[in-house]
């Protein structure tokens, strides 16, 4: 029998019986053994625990850093580092078939799920993908793991192809000619085909189509 005004029906009676059976229904008197265990584990923490803290750089700070473009590196700067032999860990986060089909020289393939095992190699870690956000996810993971210098190749594989393998640059002014010579030298070093001209507006194309066009040239 339910008390007046409680609107008892089958569902509420079942719930009320469940509530009455439950520890909460009996006022949830703490299980003394569990309470003692919790207090002991808590008191042992300062004695046996390490002073492990959450990292000072949280996700919002890292997201803001990513939004300002701070961790990006462009293809020309990357190519200069590789050619000069400066310590750089270049990481390809794409799948194995894409990596086999085309990869930037000196790159190692590390899926995001295994990046936690990436050994320290000295110098910055540069990630690149095919523009689907995987490199950004890898960057976030590595920064949260405490790697201080992690960068993302701007525009990924497409950025490398457009910037180094098929660069189109103006050469009208002395400054432009100097830049063209620098980029062209790097481009030829990596087997590219630099051209003088007005660069088209940044092409919106996928990494797959960019690599396919490279293949048609017979170079890859």
């Amino acid at each position: 029998m339910t008390a007046p005004g409680t609107g008892g029906g089958p569902a509420s009676q079942t719930g009320d019986r469940a509530a009455a059976r439950s520890p909460a229904g009996r006022g949830l008197r703490p299980g003394y053994g569990l309470a003692v265990a919790a207090v002991l584990l808590g008191l042992l923490a300062p004695l046996l625990g390490s002073d492990q803290r959450m990292p000072a750089t949280g996700v919002p700070e890292l997201t803001a850093e990513l939004a300002t473009g701070a961790p990006l590196i462009d293809a020309v700067d990357l190519a200069a580092r590789i050619r000069a032999g400066e310590p750089t860990t270049l990481v390809d986060v794409r799948d194995s078939s894409a990596f086999i089909r085309f990869a930037i020289p000196t790159a190692e393939r590390w899926p995001v799920g295994r990046l936690a095992s990436l050994p320290e190699g000295g110098g910055p870690i540069v990630l690149y993908g095919d523009g689907d956000g995987t490199a950004a996810r890898g960057w976030l993971l590595l920064r949260r793991l405490g790697h201080p210098d992690v960068r993302i190749l701007e525009r990924g594989v497409v950025g490398w192809i457009d910037g180094i393998l098929e660069p189109v640059l103006p050469a009208d002014s002395p400054e432009e000619r100097a830049r063209y010579r620098r980029v062209a030298d790097l481009s030829r070093y990596f087997g590219g085909m630099p051209r003088v001209g007005e660069p088209a507006l940044e092409r919106q194309r996928s990494a797959e189509s960019a690599v396919r066009l490279l293949s048609r040239r017979g170079c890859y």
Binding site: G15, A18, G42, P60, R144, G146
Partner: protein
């Protein structure tokens, strides 16, 4: 380190959704077995006559705190990869107030309303409908509240960082404080019941 599992690539996107479903069902089951599918019991928390909500949830907090601390201590969990929601002070206070008013009026929170529906309660259905309606209204009105939504960001804030007290000492204080809080809750219950 083998955890957090998702961050360390133990399973992918689909696997994470499967585990979310498993954990969600388990969480709902434990809530129902704890009696938290009963609106009268939940509302009684606000009238200080039944501290079941406080006891169940604080027990969960202490269990998770001790579990994470010791698993981190023994190298099983990388605490640096555990996601901590950022704090936005004013929006959180305002949202908490709205949430609390709705909670005491309906006697159910979003999670326990689903538990109540699963238990066959019509009041749970009403709260779920209200929750979904509220989500729709919030989504449609978001441009009007977008500035408030992002106001007063404090970043990720933990008790050790906020107080400057070492993490292990905070763990000890919370564990001991929980037992004291439970005794205090029972005293209040006896006084107001």
């Amino acid at each position: 380190m083998s955890a957090p599992f998702y961050e360390l690539g133990a399973f992918g996107e689909v696997g994470s959704l499967v585990w979310a479903l498993v954990i969600g069902v388990g969480f709902g089951w434990f809530l129902e077995r704890g009696g938290l599918g009963n609106a009268r019991k939940l509302a009684a928390q606000f009238y200080l006559t039944d501290f079941a909500v406080f006891k169940v949830l604080f027990t969960a907090v202490v269990t998770a705190m001790l579990g994470l601390f010791w698993l981190g201590r023994f190298g099983v969990v990388d605490l640096g990869l555990v996601y901590i929601p950022p704090t936005f002070l004013v929006p959180h206070l305002l949202g908490g107030l709205i949430f609390g008013v709705g909670f005491v009026m309906g006697g159910l929170c979003p999670g326990t309303s689903c538990v109540a529906v699963a238990s066959g309660r019509a009041d749970g259905l009403a709260v779920v409908a209200g929750m979904l309606g509220g989500i729709l209204v919030f989504g449609e009105a978001f441009p009007l509240v977008a500035r408030l939504y992002d106001a007063t960001p404090l970043g990720t804030l933990t008790l050790p960082e906020a107080t400057g007290i070492a993490y292990p000492i905070v763990v000890a204080a919370v564990a001991v404080g929980a037992v004291a809080a439970f005794r205090g809750a029972e005293w209040v219950e006896a006084r107001y019941r």
